[in-house]
């Protein structure tokens, strides 16, 4: 089996040591201006402790907080053709890709993983806004197709965290074709009667919103996330008027019937456990802190030879 590239067991608060950020670093909240101690901010999942502003969080940070004891197995996404159109604007596309890969340490804008949340086996996919604006190209399409195939194969729900400025222009029409491609993936889940839950995070726009991000059985958004097809600036230019406060934000979409819920990032995990377990007809979740099979030593990242046992059987408790 090649679907598990490596079995990662990061510990809670892995973010600092991995990035080797000095402990005394402070971050300024871009909403209220409060200076936030880095560790405190990270413990709060990058949500401002003063004003609850939700800042960006990388897929790895999110998965570490989401999965039981931070354990997850990354799923290998099939590589698409690199630079299919030989696209060049002011820079060459391969150069932009290399720069993004270097600054994020990721291959492309989506991470797919297997693991358990509240002892509920799931497949999760998360889009990485820090990688070229999370833009949807062939890799992201492949990631969604792979995630859906894994969900169907393992009979698990798929939880997808969206974040994107839209389609990846450097892949031209092939990025646009990820709208129908990802929709085929969602139809596979539907036919297998598996829940597909979308968590829309800031920002989710363009062709991403107009395809897989709006097709969830349950649609949840993080507070104040911008969710739209056409962005506010484009609309203001078209209609030549100022848009009202909060237009196209999560709460606005909730009011207009486009979402089921708006949920704080710190409550998201419990809510996802609850919803997936109900839709999978599983008994209520066990409350409290769940440790992994063995608590990992701090700072340890292991690459296991075999896939995790825990991933192979659905938890029944």
């Amino acid at each position: 089996m090649n679907w598990i590239a490596n079995y990662v067991r990061p510990r809670i608060n892995s973010i600092f040591s991995r990035r080797e950020v000095p402990e005394n670093l402070w971050t300024k909240c871009d909403e209220c201006g409060t200076m936030l101690f880095h560790r405190e901010l990270s413990d709060n999942l990058n949500v401002c402790t003063n004003c609850s502003h939700h800042m960006a969080i990388t897929p790895r940070e999110r998965f570490t907080a989401l999965f039981d004891a931070g354990n997850f197995a990354e799923v290998t996404v099939p590589d698409p053709i690199a630079d299919p159109l030989q696209f060049r604007d002011q820079k060459k596309y391969p150069d932009r890709m290399r720069a993004a890969q270097k600054s994020t340490g990721e291959k492309d804008a989506m991470l797919v993983a297997l693991g358990e949340i509240g002892q509920t086996p799931i497949v999760a996919a998360a889009q990485d806004f820090s990688f070229m604006g999370g833009s949807m190209g062939m890799y992201v399409g492949n990631a969604i197709v792979k995630a859906a195939q894994e969900a169907v194969r393992l009979k698990r729900p798929l939880i997808l965290f969206s974040a994107a400025g839209g389609a990846r222009m450097q892949e031209g029409i092939l990025s646009l074709m990820q709208m129908p491609r990802s929709t085929v993936a969602i139809q596979m889940l539907r036919e297998a009667n598996l829940p597909y839950i979308v968590v829309l995070t800031h920002p989710t726009t363009g062709g991403v919103t107009a395809s897989y991000a709006m097709l969830g059985d349950v649609q949840i958004a993080e507070p104040n996330a911008l969710i739209c097809f056409a962005g506010p600036r484009v609309i203001e230019q078209t209609i030549r008027e100022k848009l009202p406060e909060g237009f196209q934000r999560a709460e606005y979409l909730l009011e207009h019937g486009m979402l089921d819920r708006v949920t704080d990032r710190n409550d998201m995990r419990d809510e996802l456990i609850s919803i997936t377990r109900m839709l999978m007809l599983l008994p209520p979740p066990v409350k409290g802190h769940l440790t992994g099979p063995e608590e990992a030593a701090p700072n340890a990242i292991e690459v296991a030879k075999a896939p995790a046992k825990a991933d192979k059987q659905p938890a029944k408790k």
């Binding site: 698409p80 053709i81 630079d83 299919p84 159109l85 030989q86 696209f87 060049r88 604007d89 002011q90 062939m138 399409g141 197709v145 389609a167 222009m169 892949e171 031209g172 029409i173 092939l174 990025s175 646009l176 074709m177 709208m179 129908p180 491609r181 929709t183 085929v184 969602i186 139809q187 363009g206 062709g207 919103t209 107009a210 395809s211 897989y212 991000a213 709006m214 097709l215 969710i227 739209c228 097809f229 056409a230 484009v234 609309i235 230019q237 078209t238 209609i239 848009l243 237009f247 196209q248 979409l253 207009h256 019937g257 486009m258």
Partner: protein, 320 residues
């Protein structure tokens, strides 16, 4: 009155001169200009041929947007019998940017759906320049589902700058409407064939063109973003649309290579608007062929055909 594109300016001068000469000759009968006018005609024909021999991607965008280009309603009038428009999404309103209804194509009952841009100021406003609002996609979903229930093939004619960047369109969930339309395209068990007749603008086009077979007119374009939009984002300068059009690979010829288009329909020399009847006849032939390709396929096979096609897209780049 012919509408000339900027790159056709030299052509406009020659054709204008020939016309002027003939007008003068009609006034004063003793003038013999025919030889001179014929020479100009000849010159114009040569120039037209030269200009259209290898149109740049940006010029193709201009031709695709040409105001005199045949639009959806022209095709419906010419190619379909008993066209019976069906209106409304049953949720909020009718969207006049999207035409749709029952009709016969070669005697066979079909559902025809397409974007209509309009052909003068008032009809353009009425049609919102071919930019659908959520109701347009929802109407299309309703008609596609009806076609599915009664076993009618669906023919879509795509010609839109894109979805409408308006306040109400966002308020009423155009993202969801586009996503559902694409999804419906993928799950109906009847043949779905599509022709890009002018502009295939991003999500607004995908919502109708997620089809078993997609044909493009020779000078039509299909793109993730308009060249102007792409230029303003990647070049930070909307005037770089020529470069953006080049980079985006949005021409029918490139899309055929990438497998996004299955067929390219030749246009008359100088573009579809120079011989509308010939263009419409070519589209008719192509539709007949595409529907013929799908004859006898059962609903499940049609759905599988569509899904396999889109899943496989991207496996070949332009270099291959």
């Amino acid at each position: 009155m012919t509408h000339y594109l900027d790159f056709e300016k030299p052509l406009a001068e020659i054709e204008g001169k020939a016309e002027e000469l003939r007008a003068m000759a009609r006034v004063s009968e003793e003038m013999d200009i025919e030889a001179e006018a014929a020479a100009l005609d000849h010159k114009a024909a040569a120039l037209l041929k030269d200009l259209y021999k290898k149109l740049s991607p940006w010029r193709k965008c201009q031709v695709a947007r040409h105001p005199d280009r045949p639009h959806c309603s022209d095709y419906i009038d010419a190619l379909f019998q008993e066209y019976t428009p069906l209106a409304g999404d049953r949720k909020f309103s009718e969207d006049e940017a999207v035409l749709g209804g029952l009709a016969r194509f070669n005697d066979r009952p079909v559902m025809v759906i397409g974007h209509e841009k309009g052909n003068d100021t008032s009809s353009r406003i009425q049609r919102n320049f071919g930019m659908a609002r959520p109701e347009g996609y929802r109407k299309a979903v309703r008609l596609m589902e009806m076609a599915d229930r009664f076993g009618l093939p669906v023919i879509t004619l795509v010609d839109t700058p894109g979805a409408y960047p308006g306040k109400g369109a966002e308020e009423r969930g155009q993202s969801e409407a586009i996503a559902r339309a694409t999804e419906t395209c993928l799950q109906i068990g009847v043949p779905l064939v599509s022709v890009i007749i002018g502009e295939g603008g991003s999500g607004g086009a995908v919502a109708f063109a997620t089809a078993n077979r997609v044909a493009m007119l020779e000078h039509s374009v299909y793109s993730v973003i308009s060249p102007e939009g792409c230029a303003s984002i990647l070049w930070k300068n909307a005037d770089k649309m020529r470069e953006a059009a080049e980079a985006l690979r949005l021409t029918a010829q490139d899309l055929l290579k990438l497998g996004v288009a299955d067929r390219v329909i030749p246009e008359p020399l100088g573009g579809a608007h120079r011989d509308r009847e010939a263009t419409i006849a070519s589209v008719s032939d192509c539709l007949t062929k595409m529907l013929g390709d799908l004859d006898g396929l059962k609903p499940k096979a049609l759905i599988k055909d569509r899904r396999d096609k889109f899943l496989a897209l991207g496996s070949k780049g332009l270099a291959a």
